[in-house]
Point group: C2
Chain length 345, copies 2
């Protein structure tokens, strides 16, 4: 395709600022003959306060027509916890069947990590995105009374687990180390645990070159700080993936550089790319936010749309910039400009 | 009471070795006039293979008569995942209503941590022990087929949440910093999240001196590696507690020194004390296991039974030993002997 029709959702807080830089780099890296069309959407706290809407059916119809979606951040303290998360972010992941939630972690030379001894970190987490404890199943009885009971139901299907496990095996197969770790808690969550473990074992048979192992999620958090180099590709459920990818981001340079893709591999719906960080209202509008995570999300977007050369160019620009960054404080736009200049040259 | 009637469950792997050292230190620290009676139980993999039993009603009746339980570790690769966990460890926590799962994390001077810059770490996690995703509710349909659906149900009651939240507030109130952090995921698990958050807010009103805050579990893992000093007391659900206490142990000296108590505060049933680590079959029987976590669990046991002076003596002995440990390799028994000698003097 010689055009990209992109939905842009700046969202709340620093979302506006970082998305502007992401687009700057995207424009700079694309070949002259690729036409970039963008349409901006006003989802987030402001629209919610004005209209009570988070994401309507008409919104979904409109978003569906794009090739991909770039999102900044959604969330604001003025909105009760859960409203935008369930009403926008998760609604979109479910509506567009974003079952592969891709979160790479790579510690680049010169980047600060809270871990001693600058360990080697280069792995990717494939987090299931449409099942598990995120389905919103469950409920409450006798709310607000001393006899309240609240349940959360984790729903796991053979269909849903197998497709994400298969995706993770294919990704492991394509990497030099070819190693895949299943992370779950199959000794306690035995129903879901057996399903995940059995499917993992079955699909492993089709990928004889991939080395596999298994870790309980609690043990995985230990290894993420004591021996992150042991990981190559991790596949895990939605909630465990949420938890370990924040930890993974923290040890590999912080959420300022952590990118993610909410991917629908079949292409039936557009995939969405976003930094792992939130809207950080405390520093919004001050030009202090680091747009690097958004720019790396743009690289994932490019790769997903088939622009592999351009994706690599963006990633190399970020690597070079991070390595040379030093301690000089730069504004959001200065980082974006520097990255755009690198990819253009 | 001038006697302690202790149930001892060495269990599997290194459990045998570390419990022996725990008992050595316990005997050494107790005043002459306190009679220590112990009864050993053979739970674990060996008994399971011989009899198919993990924990019978008769076992529970017998255990019930003790003042407290000291456990080494349960688990062996020869037993399918989940059998001993659900059939012994969790069965006991549920049967004896061990709803306060207490896990202190303190980084002692000189102890190695994977974090750069030797941060200050001194907090305690109060993990709910009888509810949440650990109830074993849920199930499977169409097992083994492409249409399998497996569910896990997290059950949360006002009764269960309030008692553990209240316990955590009382513990925070008794500490110098008086700070309590609720860790949950109330933006996604909104049913359980609202219950936890509402009860936390309500009980906070009764403890005006305690400073409170809230963190999503994913953000909590970030702070555990970037700013662990921010934590004083954490209260959280069963599964989040499982995950963050392993991470907490990893950053504060490793699971070799992480102690825990499964506490029934009313005293209706005996409480159980155990190291956080597992049975480590790879190093079992070689005198290589570090008994420190078990010895620190003995300190929690002493405190629970009202022997505060003795508990502090054990903790101080461990601190002194750890500080002086250096790089010399000692056997399990040598560490136990050194600690017993310190507490006796
Ligand atoms: C904001 C929240 C709904 C979201 C999640 O839990 O998935 C976030 O933490 C993430 O990791 O993308
Ligand atoms: C062994 C397992 C059942 C247990 C748990 O998940 O609670 C362990 O990880 C722990 O933290 O005590």
């Amino acid at each position: 395709s010689h055009s990209i029709n992109l939905a842009v959702i700046p969202g709340d807080g620093i979302g506006q600022e970082v998305v502007a830089e992401g687009l700057k780099v995207l424009s700079a890296v694309l070949p002259q003959d690729v036409k970039l069309e963008t349409e901006e959407y006003d989802f987030g706290a402001k629209r919610y306060h004005a209209t009570g809407e988070t994401l309507t059916d008409a919104d979904l119809d409109s978003l569906k027509k794009h090739d991909a979606i770039l999102l900044g951040a959604i969330g604001d303290p003025s909105v009760p916890s859960g409203v935008l998360e369930r009403g926008f972010l998760l609604k979109l992941r479910f509506a567009f069947d974003h079952h592969v939630n891709l979160r790479p972690s790579k510690l680049l030379p010169g980047v600060a990590t809270p871990l001693a001894g600058q360990p080697e970190i280069d792995f990717v987490v494939v987090r299931e995105g449409t099942e598990g404890p995120y389905t919103g199943n469950g409920g409450t009885i006798r709310k607000g009374t001393p006899h309240e009971v609240a349940t959360e139901v984790s729903v796991n299907t053979a269909f849903g687990v197998e497709r994400v496990v298969r995706d993770a095996f294919a990704r492991a197969q394509a990497r030099p180390r070819k190693k895949l770790t299943l992370v779950h808690k199959n000794n306690v969550l035995t129903f879901a645990g057996h399903l995940w473990t059995n499917i993992f074992t079955k699909v492993a048979g089709e990928f004889p070159e991939v080395t596999t192992d298994y870790l309980h999620v609690d043990a995985a958090t230990i290894f993420l700080v004591t021996d992150p180099a042991r990981f190559d590709v991790i596949v895990t459920d939605n909630l465990f993936g949420d938890i370990i990818t924040d930890l993974a981001a923290a040890v590999s340079g912080g959420i300022g550089v952590a990118a993610s893709g909410n991917i629908n591999p079949s292409g039936e719906f557009p995939s969405m790319f976003e930094p792992v960080h939130g809207s950080a209202p405390d520093i919004a509008g001050q030009g202090k936010a680091d747009p690097t995570a958004t720019v790396l999300s743009v690289a994932l977007l490019l790769r997903h749309l088939g622009y592999e050369t351009e994706a690599v160019r963006v990633e190399e620009a970020v690597s070079a910039d991070l390595t040379e960054r030093g301690t000089a404080v730069r504004t959001t736009a200065e980082v974006g400009d520097a990255l755009a200049a690198r990819v253009a040259s």
